[in-house]
Symmetry: C2
Subunit: 451 residues, 2 copies
Amino acid sequence: MLVKKLKETFEQYDGQSITLQGWVRTNRNSKAVGFIALNDGTTFSNVQIVYADSLENFEEVSKITTGSAMEVTGKLVCTPDAKQPFEIQAESISVLGLCDHDYPLQKKRHSFEFMREIPHVRPRANTYYAMFRLRSVLSMAIHTFFQDRGFVYVHTPEITGNDAEGAGECFTVTTREDAKYDKDFFGKHAQLTVSGQLHVEPFALTYRNVYTFGPTFRAENSNTTRHASEFWMIEPELAFADLADNMDCIEEMIKYCINYCLEHAKEEMEFFASMIDKECIKRVTHVANSNFERMTYTKAIEYLEKAKDQFENQDIFWGMDLQSEHERYICEKVVSGPVFLTDYPKDIKAFYMRVNDDNKTVAACDLLVPYVGELVGGSQREERYDVLVNRMKEIGMEQETLQWYLDLRRFGGCKHSGFGLGFDRMLMYLSGVANIRDVQPYPRTPRNLIF
Amino acid sequence: MLVKKLKETFEQYDGQSITLQGWVRTNRNSKAVGFIALNDGTTFSNVQIVYADSLENFEEVSKITTGSAMEVTGKLVCTPDAKQPFEIQAESISVLGLCDHDYPLQKKRHSFEFMREIPHVRPRANTYYAMFRLRSVLSMAIHTFFQDRGFVYVHTPEITGNDAEGAGECFTVTTREDAKYDKDFFGKHAQLTVSGQLHVEPFALTYRNVYTFGPTFRAENSNTTRHASEFWMIEPELAFADLADNMDCIEEMIKYCINYCLEHAKEEMEFFASMIDKECIKRVTHVANSNFERMTYTKAIEYLEKAKDQFENQDIFWGMDLQSEHERYICEKVVSGPVFLTDYPKDIKAFYMRVNDDNKTVAACDLLVPYVGELVGGSQREERYDVLVNRMKEIGMEQETLQWYLDLRRFGGCKHSGFGLGFDRMLMYLSGVANIRDVQPYPRTPRNLIF
């Protein structure tokens, strides 16, 4: 029986014999009686197994090491006055797989750095055990949100021939060792995608509302707590939607995901609140209950100029790229809650964003939230063929390889908008876990590729 | 308003004015009246728009080309006696984006080969329009099936340093042009994953029941209708589960997915049955209602030997790898339905499969289904450290890079099983679409990398 099911229905088994499998979290005992905290992987908290020296193999059982796999058959007894709602009084226990003495997860607390060296074992340590279930729950929240609203899920490609976007920071995909790409597997240079957006736009112009959810890659040589070389992104795209519609969708999605995780990963969120970041549940609950404000970039610069003494980077001017400290000031001090900054200078934003009538700004929106700053970036896309071609020329982009993308503007184009949510960042935001290396099963970063 | 919503509730709008956006599928008209078939992307079938010369811009509207984007406001009128349940009598129509005359989707029927050259436009053609929604629906079927049963979704890595498995058929991931991998981004040779199985096993030994669902890659230089260089795989892994448990899970999953798609992609499946493969709904319904039989490989060889005259490859012997014609004979002629072949010779199966007591076969299972042959491959995993080490030696595998995988057997290992489902193959199976290039948004195959 799965413990998850059992926890929902244990009362009906009171006094009955049941069988569980799982792994030993702790095993303590005296000469006559012992207690095993058993976890079968289906819930965060353990089940208490009580065993006595009446057990045939009491000696063997009393020596079961932490991490070992076992099976127990025993009587379920409800314990309404104890911490755990029931316990199992063992009738028989079989050891399925003993854990060797060099098992790296011993009782003492290990550093995150140490844990990152053993990605095959660390999921069993509490922080990771909570995190990787939260990761699964948040994934399902994303899919449920979009599918319930009729969005079509699109698998945009991982391998792409579009060198246009930020080629310097891309991984090359090859079967050769001599960089002769014309003789390579695909007959030309191939690389790993940095974003599915361009590839998903044709689908928005077909299905109206679509989303991607898959891996993306950056070959950036930066060692920060927020960047990984491989990470998962969600990139929704909405046809017949302007910037305001886009922000409505972002706001609804963020709130939905928070509430879904608080409901479906309750024990895990409580663990994070007790061990990692006391404020995390309060913080995300506040966001789920807030109206997300909207403020232009220009207005934000005014606020920042007035407060410039408070920043490390005090060079505040219209046209600058905001640093994390500036973003956090706006949402934490000015707004005290989530806020969309909109209408950024076009020179600091991507070529595909729609140019506003002032010809200086674009219809972009970044969602800033307290504690992390930017969580989502989006924009209305430039749907006017001529404007887009001119914009590409202006910044020196080659038109040819993206002619297919431009053609979407000639083949029944319409206003459309979209955004990108970094899935791993959202996990950091929910849990308070500070390093992206601790929210991914096998993090990939510069000079770091374990297994 | 979204047409999907409208189709569920149109009766309450009878006689009322509503607004729709969408793309023109056809526009035919006489001097006084015209009809537009409008599709907004949210359902397979179109909405009929009727417009008359009382329309201010009747001239303009009568010239709207196929593929154009438009908005219509008009009166919804229920038409219980007509083919479509309602129509919209236009009060105003605005053209949002005209489609140029070089739009590649003209009325005539185009070949699949032609369509593959224009992946940015082909989603609007009926076959692809049905397929990519089915793709989204089947994705959600997979997630719903596993999450409802408490399985944890694991994002196994795309970039891996495990050169051990089938290195010859892998793509290298690099930022260099000189193959000096020790100076490369990760400080060593990196490649794209061919399977998430090894990486997901540690999670099964933590969460009990887990699954992956993500892209995998093969640099195989084979041009068949069933192989792509990039494809999505589902790889569930179940702890405390033997081969029989594994087959139970596979059977339940396949049936669930079929029923989910028949329910949630009804119009799309009906399209496939009418235009691509008359038998497809009958075939998958039959499978969903069948008991999946189980037969040993050894027994299958007996059947094949008796029928060898019927095959192109008539060299039937115990130890051979079955060809597609043999697999189809077993399920189509011998069983007349889905069948698991089990206990294959160990020499034709992977190193991690559990060796049976006869020391000649392994606890593997392949699910064969009529029409396509193999749909799922799975096995019980070798959980005995010494047996696994010996097996690796026997076939000349290096132990060192997989020591972490071996260690799982020393750190509370237990019996466990898992399988792999090729997501794209499942789509081909459901729809009857015969080429994998027509079920993927942007197929990647040798010398073929469009956009």
